[in-house]
């Protein structure tokens, strides 16, 4: 799709939503960690599906049903390639990253016993905390958490203390949605495997940044959402090792996931169908696959370099602003971090910052970022976050910095 190298203008032109601008200004969309925008290629794939191949899958013998089924199968194949799964059977389409983690919490969770332990971290998004709290309540499973360092990384020194012999699963984020820190997955996997525990990675913030290699990561489950990787809402992927999925009971009941149903009992199909009850998000899976292919078509190294350089520019610009009032929360370097930057303005509330920046056309996110335990660890109620995607450029970063300067003045800070 893309030639080698990285033509930023060419990429930006594929995002029609960036064109009109907001409040009569250029739109500097820096809220990609919440939802990334959708390139034309993905929208076109969805429209094409709805206008040419729309039907229910796997049920009917007619032209459109065959076409829809093939489109859905192809989508699974694309997602298999995107995460380097061993087979398509390891790709379960879900309603999103949250749906994927809940699937594991209910299904894998039902195999755990009271007193068994699930280890999360203080860095997690609520989507990777609440399902485990609910499991704890349901089944007496004990939830423990790896603490964070002041830099906003998992505190690996604590692993031996937290991951004990009763640990059955370590469920942590691959990349923090607050600090941008990338988890040292090898260390986590080593600690988990040492006690025979499985590892789930929440890849919501990693998936937008290029293909993933679940085999190389050595984990057991990988969960992510489409809408954060330029795809449609309403769909995500749970990748799971097939031997593991095969042993897991179903989560949702309904059509398409059964082997046989009588009024007395149900027997279940093999994975992945066992975990895809009811009509799946067909057009959305098609869109997600188009997004995965769109990302894969970009020169990954060049894209990475582009985002690194913008992240560096942002970190430099922010540090020390407002006479030291502005403080970055998270790693200050570019090593093992993704382009998500959170900061605090002493005496300034994130929502006020966001509001004033919105007037400058800069879209940020303020608040707890669904990571209240991390906020507690940092002793704040919220941060302001700028998160980058491929279409962002130096102009966006500069708009943030100058806009923030003006906002601080406005707030008399």
């Amino acid at each position: 799709m893309m030639a080698r190298g990285f033509d930023h203008a060419l990429i930006r032109a594929q995002f029609p939503i960036l064109e009109p601008g907001v409040h009569g200004r250029h739109l500097h969309y820096l809220d990609n960690g919440a939802t990334a925008q959708m390139p034309k290629a993905v929208l076109d794939a969805i429209v094409r599906h709805e206008t040419r191949h729309r039907a229910n899958v796997k049920r009917s013998v007619h032209f459109l049903a065959e076409a829809a089924t093939e489109a859905y199968d192809d989508a699974r194949e694309s997602m298999k390639a995107y995460v380097n799964a061993a087979s398509e059977e390891e790709i379960v389409f879900t309603s999103g990253c949250t749906g994927a983690i809940n699937l594991v919490a209910y299904s894998f969770g039902s195999l755990l016993e009271a007193g068994d332990e699930v280890v999360i971290s203080a860095l997690e998004h609520h989507s990777n905390i609440v399902p485990w709290h609910m499991l704890a309540k349901r089944a007496g499973v004990v939830v423990k958490a790896i603490p964070v360092t002041p830099e906003g990384r998992l505190d690996l020194d604590a692993l031996p203390k937290v991951i004990g012999p009763r640990c059955r699963l370590v469920a942590v984020t691959h990349v923090s949605n607050v600090t941008g820190a990338e988890t040292d997955v090898a260390a986590i996997v080593a600690a988990a495997k040492a006690v025979g525990a499985r590892v789930l990675l929440d890849g919501a913030q990693r998936a937008p940044h290029g293909p993933i290699d679940v085999k190389a990561l050595g984990v057991d489950f990988y969960a992510f959402s489409s809408h954060k990787m330029f795809g449609p809402n309403g769909v995500g992927v749970l990748w799971g090792k097939s031997e593991l999925l095969a042993r897991m009971p179903p989560f949702l009941g309904g059509g398409e996931m059964i082997a046989r149903v009588t009024l007395e009992e149900t027997t279940f199909a093999e994975p992945p169908r066992r975990f895809e009850a009811g009509t799946p998000p067909i057009a959305q899976a098609v869109g997600m696959a188009a997004a995965a292919r769109w990302i894969s078509g970009i020169d990954q190294e060049a894209a990475h370099a582009h985002l690194q350089s913008l992240t560096g520019r942002m970190l430099e610009g922010l540090e020390g602003m407002g006479g030291g009032r502005v403080r970055v929360v998270g790693p200050l370097g570019l090593q093992n971090r993704y382009p998500v930057v959170s900061f605090i303005v002493e005496g300034g509330h994130p929502h006020d910052i966001c509001q004033l920046l919105d007037e400058e056309g800069v879209a940020l996110r303020g608040g707890h970022h669904c990571a209240q335990p991390l906020m507690n660890a940092f002793g704040v109620t919220g941060t302001t976050r700028a998160s980058l995607a491929l279409y962002n450029d130096a102009d966006d970063v500069d708009a943030l910095i100058t806009g923030l300067g003006r906002a601080l003045k406005k707030l008399h800070l």
């Binding site: 994130p350 929502h351 707890h368």
Partner: protein
Amino acid sequence: MSDLYQSDLLRLAASADGAGRLEPPRASVTLDNPLCGDRVTMDVRLEGGRITALAHETKACVVCQAAAAVIGRHAEGLDKDGLAAARAAAEAVLKGGEPPAGAWAELALFKPVAKVKSRHACLRLPFRSLEAALAADQG
């Protein structure tokens, strides 16, 4: 919206009128805005259903702080109906209208919030906390 961040509103927020705690309160309620984590604690002392003393602890944005300060200024002496009238005045402003003359006329400062739905909750939070505190005392 930039008209929101005028000196008057910023001053109102900074005044932090009524900030602090009551020891002991008769009723105390803490409410969060779950979407942003903002938090308002309202301590009140009541007599015959009327507020005789009030203090609030507000960890929140300018809008919410300013709203808490307005309450801090004018809530003494209110009963449930008086508070309902104040809340109605705030809601009228959020609908783009004018607050009635009187103690709550100051709510006019919040008029720019009307068109930013995501911030409505910020103005409401101190009112909701106070309502809950009154209800807690009575029930």
